[in-house]
């Protein structure tokens, strides 16, 4: 009967079957049991872990699955079930268990506000702490080292600064070691330079006008060209004002401070105060200046300290003796070579006749090269110099130096690009060549190649504006005068008045250099840079090192920790700190606790005491107020939902969050009693059935029709046609629906416009209920018929041809063949799929949500509902789409009702599928 050798004959010829030999059988069983044991062990881990984590249901489900799998594998009589073990495991865990969970949820108050089970809520509330009223409080600023390492910068009421690291006692910071100085007032006024510094905004104002009434002083600061002003006078708060108010100049600063304007919109007198022409002369009197009412707006006299840095590996030189014999030092760019030679600040310009080059040594860092190309003009006895910025094509400006006049700037082209006529009328300059910008003559000065000598330069402008002849080397960017301790940047025309040298600790002949401009009286407000630190091979530009920080300034970095600056960092930081809570900082038992967004307190102690037997919380922070667990659900008069699952006080608000409790059938009774649900429910139910039935009917009809047509081999290019027809099915549904929505869009849609152009009718696809329903069916037909075609053509091929041969012999005509043979046989295989399709459409949430979102709305319905809403989308709206927040319990209850409705329909149809199955088995 049964052969045991591999040479067994079989009707299929080459197929041979073998029973396993005994040794193989044993190995196989051993492997089977070993594998099962490993899986069981893993299941045990999961079961315990889920149980430990409070997910009892999941734990039970895994236990059930594990036992089921073991039984199926180990009990021989359950052999058929062994085949479906993987499927059954997945179905149990991810279909049946969620259903049970949903049922469970339907009888609970599960939703926003009641998300956790009671034990978790108790643990959560128990862990909450508070800062007692006698605690030390700090203002806090977060710092971080990495995404998981944070620290806090704390300032207590006394102004003491501390730094708090996780798990450590906060340490006090000595602010004097922070590397910057803090101003004692917001504004500092430097009497020597007449510069006012706002330490809070880090701005400098140099248009400061000083007024005096004999014993006291007042300040008037013109910001941004007098559009705004800032003023400080005795007994007034320091204020910023619009200079022009409704076109009127400011008339008065305060009581008794009427303004009388002088030149350039600058007040000549303000009340009894008169403008001081040369405030630097009054420097001594100004040195005790102190104005303003509060710390936040005080002006005091003071100079921002210049910071002279320490450079690692170098020692600062007390004097420059070590540099005495050195003429030139080489650094890398941008310092390049530095020449050590005397500087004469009284002559602003240096003229090198050999190179026809002028250097403006005090152009004050305007950011433009300070070198000029010089052309010499002479009237026989005196010289004039015409200077054009080096390398400019078609210069628009030139500098002109005439004997006994200050150097002046000359505009060479007006707004239209023409040479201004005033050149000739005012200055006697005859200029015809715009390209070079060189005049033929300047008054009676003619161009000459006879270069002036030192003595020939007879003109002297004002002090500090003079031209001196000297040698220039364009490679020597910096000049340092050791005597005066100043330096000049010849390229940018910048003067540094803080020069420090440092000797290398290992090689004393190598020098590092610091150039700063701390108190430069000529420092402009818009200085491009402030200082250079250069050690050989390395140069650092230091921006505003001499700035004074405002009082209470917090550095951007401290001990490798950086302050959170960007929005992203702040968000990440607050998320992290919320997660770990502030008792992350400080020692155990003496941790920090958050008081409000700005302050933390210490120590942080537990706030609620829980009494297990009475199930009450006592609030230690609020006069021992008690909160009692409210597990019993009663519906207050007039309320729509039961209030329970909270810890509630005798009066006032409950503790948040609430917990999950069983509320019985309340979610179901609500379904009937809630007027918002009851109203449109009937309409929606009818439409849901209609929609699902019509969708199946239309898609199946079209699909089968096309399958029948394409089943004939006589059709040319069948494969291609089939591929084309299947494409709607291939395109992801969500996308297709959105595309259709776009095409049917009432204003912009392509189809809408096409129909409008052809007929003049603009179809209200989404605003008219009937059209909207039609649109849904049309789109669903497009989406669904390829699937029907696919399964129909598959099923058509499985119908044995003998059936047709027999029918042909019996003389059946094509109609009879279709209705009596093809269709019944197709329905045998496809029946369940059609039911599935009905059910799918019954719950076709995506189609409704993406195409119409249920609209147009049904007028007068108390809860938003639409004409095209089907049950599921309506439920979704009720459960998740309202503003009250998610109510999973209620949503689950409706889900179950829908489930029962569809299940009944399915059971009724299953009776037919059973008969179909019998038919199928007879074939």
């Amino acid at each position: 009967m049964v052969t045991t050798t591999k040479e067994a004959r079989s009707p299929q010829g080459d197929l041979a079957f073998s029973k396993m030999t005994e040794p193989r059988k044993i190995i196989f069983s051993v492997l089977k049991y070993a594998g099962l044991m490993v899986l069981d062990a893993f299941a045990l881990v999961l079961i315990y872990a889920f149980f430990y984590d409070g997910a009892g249901g999941l734990s039970l489900t895994i236990a059930f699955i594990t036992i089921m799998a073991n039984v199926f594998v180990l009990v021989p009589s359950l052999y058929p079930l062994k085949w479906m073990t993987p499927g059954l495991i997945l179905v149990t865990l991810l279909v049946i268990y969620p259903i049970i969970l949903t049922v469970q949820t339907a009888f609970s108050n599960y939703g926003d506000g009641n998300l956790l089970v009671k034990e978790r809520v108790v643990d959560l509330i128990k862990s909450r702490g508070y800062v007692p009223s006698d605690a030390i409080t700090y203002k806090w600023v977060p710092f971080r080292l990495s995404e998981t390492e944070y620290a806090l910068w704390l300032v207590d009421d006394a102004g003491q600064t501390l730094f708090a690291l996780p798990g450590q006692q906060p340490t006090v910071i000595d602010r004097t070691t922070l590397g910057y100085s803090e101003a004692s007032a917001r504004y500092l006024f430097n009497p020597a330079s007449s510069i006012l510094v706002d330490t809070q905004t880090n701005t400098e104002y140099d248009n400061v006008y000083v007024y005096s009434d004999g014993d006291s002083f007042g300040l008037w600061v013109s910001k941004d060209e007098n559009r705004n002003i800032l003023y400080a006078f005795p007994n007034l708060a320091i204020e910023e004002k619009l200079f022009f108010d409704r076109g009127q100049r400011l008339a008065q600063l305060g009581e008794g401070l009427a303004i009388v304007y002088g030149e350039n919109n600058i007040p000549a007198t303000i009340g009894d105060f008169a403008l001081v022409e040369t405030p630097t002369d009054q420097a001594e009197a100004l040195a005790s200046l102190s104005l303003g009412l509060e710390d936040g707006d005080q002006v005091i006299a003071g100079t921002p300290d210049s910071i002279i840095p320490n450079i690692t590996g170098y020692t600062r030189l007390e004097n420059f003796d070590a540099l005495a014999d050195i003429e030139r030092l080489d650094y890398i760019a941008p310092l390049n070579s530095v020449v050590l030679q005397p500087i004469d600040l009284s002559s602003r310009y240096v003229y090198d006749p050999e190179q026809s080059l002028v250097n403006d040594q005090q152009s004050s860092g305007s950011g433009i090269d300070a070198y000029y190309d010089v052309t010499v003009y002479s009237n026989g006895s005196e010289y004039a110099l015409w200077m054009i910025r080096l390398g400019t094509q078609e210069p628009s400006q030139a500098l002109l130096a005439l004997p006994n006049q200050a150097v002046q700037s000359v505009i060479l082209s007006d707004t239209r690009g023409n040479i201004p006529a005033s050149l000739q009328t005012d200055l006697g300059i005859i200029l015809t060549d715009k390209n070079t910008g060189l005049p033929e003559s300047i008054g009676d000065f003619e161009r000459t190649t006879d270069l002036p000598t030192d003595t020939a330069l007879t003109w002297m402008g004002e002090s500090g504006d003079a031209i001196k002849i000297g040698a220039l080397d364009i490679n020597d960017r910096f000049v340092i005068d050791l005597e005066q301790g100043i330096a000049i940047d010849r390229v940018f025309g910048f003067v540094f008045n803080s020069v420090e040298f440092y000797a290398n600790d290992t090689n004393p002949a190598e020098f590092a250099l610091w150039l700063g401009n701390g108190n430069n009286p000529k420092r402009p407000a818009n200085a491009q840079f402030a200082a250079y630190i250069s050690v050989p091979n390395q140069t650092t530009l230091v921006n505003n090192p001499s700035r004074v920080r405002p009082a209470g300034y917090i550095p951007s970095t401290y001990e490798d920790y950086t302050q959170l600056v960007t929005e992203n960092e702040r968000t990440a930081g607050s998320t992290f700190l919320q997660e770990v809570s502030f008792d992350y900082f400080g020692e155990e038992g003496d941790t920090l606790g958050l008081q409000n967004t700005q302050t933390v307190g210490r120590p942080y102690v537990l706030r609620y005491r829980y009494d297990e037997t009475t199930q009450t919380f006592t609030d230690l922070a609020d006069n021992n107020k008690t909160y009692t667990a409210d597990d019993e659900c009663d519906i207050p008069e007039g309320a729509r939902e039961p209030i329970c699952g909270f810890f509630t006080p005798a009066s006032g608000d409950s503790l948040s969050p609430g917990y999950r409790v069983n509320i019985g059938t309340h979610n179901f009774t609500r379904l009937v009693t809630d007027p918002g649900l009851r109203g449109p429910l009937v309409d929606i139910f009818v439409w849901t059935i209609t929609f699902a039935a019509l969708s199946v009917l239309t898609t199946f009809s079209l699909g089968l029709f096309m399958a029948l047509i394409l089943n004939d081999p006589a059709i040319p290019a069948r494969r291609l046609i089939r591929s084309l027809l299947i494409i709607p099915y291939c395109i992801p549904g969500v996308i297709s629906i959105l595309v259709w929505q776009g095409m049917l869009n009432q204003n912009l849609g392509f189809i809408t416009n096409l129909i409008f152009d052809a007929t003049g009718v603009r179809i209200p696809w989404f605003s008219d209920p009937l059209w909207a329903k039609f649109a849904i069916l049309l789109v669903n037909l497009w989406l669904g018929y390829p699937y029907m075609m696919l399964i129909s053509s598959g099923a058509l091929q499985s119908i044995p041809s003998e059936v047709y041969e027999a029918a042909a012999v019996d003389g059946a005509n094509p109609q009879q063949r279709f209705w009596r043979i093809t269709l019944p046989l197709l329905l045998v295989t496809l029946g369940p799929l059609l039911i599935g399709s009905f059910v799918f459409n019954f719950n076709n949430y995506i189609l409704i949500a993406a195409l119409t979102a249920g609209n147009p709305p049904i007028p007068g319905s108390p809860v938003p509902a639409g004409y095209t809403d089907i049950l599921i989308s309506y439920t979704y709206r009720l459960a998740f789409g309202n503003n009250a927040g998610a109510d999973y319990g209620y949503a689950s209850a409706i889900t179950i009702v829908i489930f029962l409705l569809v299940a009944v329909a399915t059971i009724i149809q299953y009776r037919y599928t059973r008969t179909w199955e019998q038919v199928g088995e007879n074939v």
């Binding site: 049964v2 052969t3 079989s10 009707p11 197929l15 079957f17 315990y48 052999y79 058929p80 085949w83 993987p86 499927g87 059954l88 997945l90 991810l94 279909v95 268990y97 969620p98 259903i99 949903t102 949820t105 029948l708 047509i709 394409l710 089943n711 004939d712 494969r719 046609i721 089939r722 494409i727 291939c730 395109i731 992801p732 549904g733 969500v734 297709s736 959105l738 595309v739 259709w740 392509f750 497009w782 053509s793 091929q797 041809s801 047709y804 041969e805 094509p814 109609q815 063949r817 279709f818 599935g836 719950n843 439920t875 409706i894 829908i898 489930f899 569809v902 399915t906 199928g920 074939v923």
Partner: protein
């Protein structure tokens, strides 16, 4: 229904019976059917043409009235694609979405088909107590709207996501193992989503395949059994090759279904990088319908290509069908 469609109900062999039909009638019937086909193809492809036109139109808005884009330089046709696939990857990590969709759909399809085929074979070939109620149960389970089981699935997967932390806490003696691999089956990951999908494939596909197992005569099994084959051998060596065509159908359906699935994926995948193509594109178009239309169309086109490719690759198996001889056995 016309006589033309009726006659197509059979296969090649029944042409014998229609020999009486004249050449003229055949031609009329064919041209009638071709007309129907042309109309059907137009209906099927019009939206596709519209999407292609939108995708290559550099104007990129919905309100464009012309199907033919007005461009001077052919490179402009790729404007939307370039924006989507190259320029705006920071905002829309399109390639990640493609990869995610591919992994999820392929794994779900392969595992799902195997699991379902095994179950369907058992239902078809064995008679055991509870068989009928299990079949009914599988059908009923499918009826449950998983849209609202979402909450439960979400909760289950978030529990799984906690395992990597919980296991070392609960069982310190197991802390030496790195349990982080379990996160792959939790929220925000392809693994968890695949598991949820696999839980759902048992239902209807089991019925479909059982129907086809039923249509294969049991004589084939019985003769193999007589020759000493086990059930596994019968399944793998005899039945499996016979049902390969229907497996292909199920596989294609499963792949497309998974690739297109949106509701579950949207709820279970939270991070922009872990999104599947559907979730990504939906959020994309939700931002601004008219303005981003062109880019959306380009994305839609790119998304459809793999699905169409898979279908075309397996088309032979799907439409080729079982050979008559094999079923006759």
């Amino acid at each position: 229904m016309s006589s033309g469609t009726m006659s197509s109900g059979g296969t090649g062999k029944q042409q014998k019976s229609s020999m009486v039909v004249s050449q003229r009638e055949k031609f009329i019937s064919l041209s009638y059917r071709m007309t129907v086909i042309v109309i059907a193809v137009l209906f099927a492809l019009f939206p596709v043409v519209f999407v292609v036109a939108s995708a290559i139109n550099p104007a990129g808005t919905l309100s464009t009235r012309s199907l033919i884009p007005q461009v001077e330089n052919p490179a402009e046709l790729l404007t939307n694609f370039r924006a989507l696939l190259v320029d705006e990857l920071k905002i829309y990590p399109f390639w990640n979405w493609i990869a995610n969709s591919f992994v999820v759909a392929s794994v779900t399809t392969i595992l799902g088909v195997m699991i379902t085929a095994l179950g369907a074979y058992s239902f078809s070939r064995f008679r055991f107590s509870g068989r009928r109620s299990m079949l009914l149960g599988i059908l009923l389970i499918q009826v449950f709207p998983n849209l609202l089981a979402m909450v439960s699935l979400f909760l289950i997967l978030s529990q799984v996501s906690r395992l990597a932390i919980v296991i070392p806490q609960a069982m310190p003696f197991l802390a030496f193992i790195d349990w982080n691999w379990l996160n792959f089956f939790g929220l925000n990951s392809a693994g968890g989503l695949i598991l949820v999908y696999l839980g759902g494939v048992m239902g209807l596909n089991t019925w479909l395949m059982k129907g086809f197992f039923d249509s294969i005569p049991r004589d084939i099994d019985e003769s193999a059994m007589v020759d000493g084959a086990t059930h596994s051998q019968t399944f793998w060596l005899l039945i499996f090759p016979l049902i390969r065509p229907i497996l292909a159908v199920v596989a294609v359906l499963s792949f497309i279904g998974t690739f297109n699935e949106f509701v579950l994926a949207r709820i279970l995948l939270r991070d922009r990088e872990s999104w599947t193509l559907m979730v990504g594109l939906f959020n994309f178009i939700n931002a601004d319908f008219n303005r981003d239309w062109g880019k959306f169309a380009a994305g839609a086109l790119v998304s459809a290509i793999p699905v169409v490719a898979v279908y075309l690759a397996l088309q032979e198996q799907i439409v080729g069908g079982l050979t008559q001889g094999a079923v006759k056995g």
